[in-house]
């Protein structure tokens, strides 16, 4: 298998207070912080949230380079939306484009909104990266089902993750098989032959996945599966975890207060 496999949790075996943090408390407290972060309305509040998140990342000793790489993945999406925002909010125009038929205004309210939006997303992404990078994948799934997330969801994630690689290898093999018989995609994807071949590929992939699913189910039944995956309960919440969780939540609440206190807004923007 010649695919470079993606490791979601390659740094999860480092040592740091954040790695030793009970995953369930970690998930809940970071989730609360995340919800707070995306509701913030002032640059100061968001700055504080971003600062807190970065501090936690430093504490967790994750390699900054890799985190930036992950963040870079979402930036195009964020930018695409962020670039529209300045135009669609009404308010004081800062700059106008005349496009003949109509005029586009960049408003200062829109610009603020777009910057806030950008910061919110970055902050949320950093928090998610923090949790997923410091928790082994299977522990993360375990914790989710401990947190009473219905098994159907955790199973869905687990199986998607597990069979993504199998499916990916399968696509690759099929592609190679077509290429070795001299299939060349036409210049345009809309060419009949190309479309037909790709359609066939998708169809075969669908059937293969379906059959694979059936065999996986048979093999699970063979080992006594009756509709529920049992787990050993071996995680324990210690006082230490509890305190750390409370600290994170309190930080979040403080940030929220700063944000709503009103004194942050004029300070930064006027």
């Amino acid at each position: 298998m010649d695919v470079e496999h993606i490791h979601l949790d390659e740094f999860s075996h480092l040592q740091s207070p954040f790695h030793r943090f009970d995953p369930r408390v970690k998930i809940v407290s970071c989730l609360i912080l995340l919800v707070i972060a995306v509701t913030l309305k002032s640059p100061v509040g968001l700055g504080a949230a971003l600062f807190t998140t970065c501090l936690m990342i430093v504490v967790s000793r994750l390699p900054v380079g890799r985190i930036l790489k992950r963040i870079a993945l979402i930036i195009p999406f964020v930018l695409a939306i962020g670039l529209f925002l300045p135009f669609i909010r009404s308010g004081t125009p800062l700059y106008s484009f005349n496009l003949g038929l109509f005029t586009l205004h960049v408003t200062s309210q829109g610009l603020q909104g777009s910057i806030l939006f950008f910061l919110r997303i970055i902050c949320a992404a950093l928090l998610i990266i923090l949790v997923t990078f410091t928790t082994p994948f299977h522990v993360l799934l375990r914790s989710l089902s401990d947190l009473k997330i219905p098994q159907i969801f955790t199973h869905l994630i687990q199986f998607s993750f597990r069979y993504f690689f199998v499916l990916f290898d399968e696509i690759l093999r099929m592609q190679r098989a077509r290429r070795s018989r001299n299939f060349r995609p036409a210049k345009s994807i809309l060419s009949r032959r190309t479309l037909g071949t790709i359609g066939g590929l998708i169809g075969v992939l669908f059937i293969r996945s379906f059959e694979r699913g059936e065999r996986v189910y048979y093999s699970m039944m063979s080992r006594g599966f009756r509709g529920e995956i049992h787990l050993l309960d071996d995680l324990q919440i210690k006082t230490k975890d509890f305190i750390l969780g409370v600290i994170i939540v309190l930080l979040g609440v403080t940030i929220l207060l700063i944000d709503q206190g009103g004194w942050g807004w004029p300070l930064a923007w006027r």
């Binding site: 687990q158 063979s222 080992r223 006594g224």
Partner: protein, 273 residues
Amino acid sequence: MAACLEIEDLYFRYHDGTEALKGVSLSIQKEEKVAILGPNGAGKSTLLLHLNGIHLPQQGVVCVGGKEINPDNEHQVRSKVGLVFQDPDDQVFSPTVWDDVAFGPLNMNLERAEIEKRVADALRAVRMWEFRSRAPHHLSYGQKKRVAIAGVLAMDPEIIVLDEPTAFLDPSGQEDLFEILENLHREGRTVIIATHDVDMAAMWATSIIILKEGQILAQGTTELLVKEDLVEAAGLRFPLISQVFEEAAVSSGQPLPRTVKEGKKLLFKLTKH
């Protein structure tokens, strides 16, 4: 010796109308090493899925330990008969190796200490203990295969069934597998494999079953593997050793050797005078 597995007049038809099994009857004794051979599409995999109640007979009877498999006892049967699938990707689904091997024992509602012991024993038996916290999708094919076998071993079944266990394994992987199978047999388990590997069947099995087009062509010892008409009808070939010694054995009136060991003996006999 008692028959631990008996099948009588078994028919099975897939929903698309393919008749995969057409009146299969066979009986397997305790502690036997059985190889089921037959061309592609003969119905081997379909037959194996009947051995632990994944497919229930549409017609006919499958008995394990003297009891007929039916919808009421299919779950008990599955802890008695362990089935290792051909493609380990079909079987090894958990996020870590340890979790996957523990899946079966957890379904059996065993005590925690017992589960841990079984998982450790099974992983050591296939020499995968060092990999216990790895994710299966980052393992090699042979390693996944071992995990799949460990997952079945941990359920401590009396009968172990493997579908094409040597397929896609490298020579040393095949050697290891052979050793694992021998150990299982030494522990007093019945081992059944479906295979295309005639040489392995000749060397390893105590009993041979030849299947073709959903019917049993023959059941007997490894002698079946050098019966010319049978081998031809089943789309098989002679074991390599038998091919090498074919003329020599015939002209000297000796029985045709089937394994390397027998071949060496014959060679020694022939060269002494």
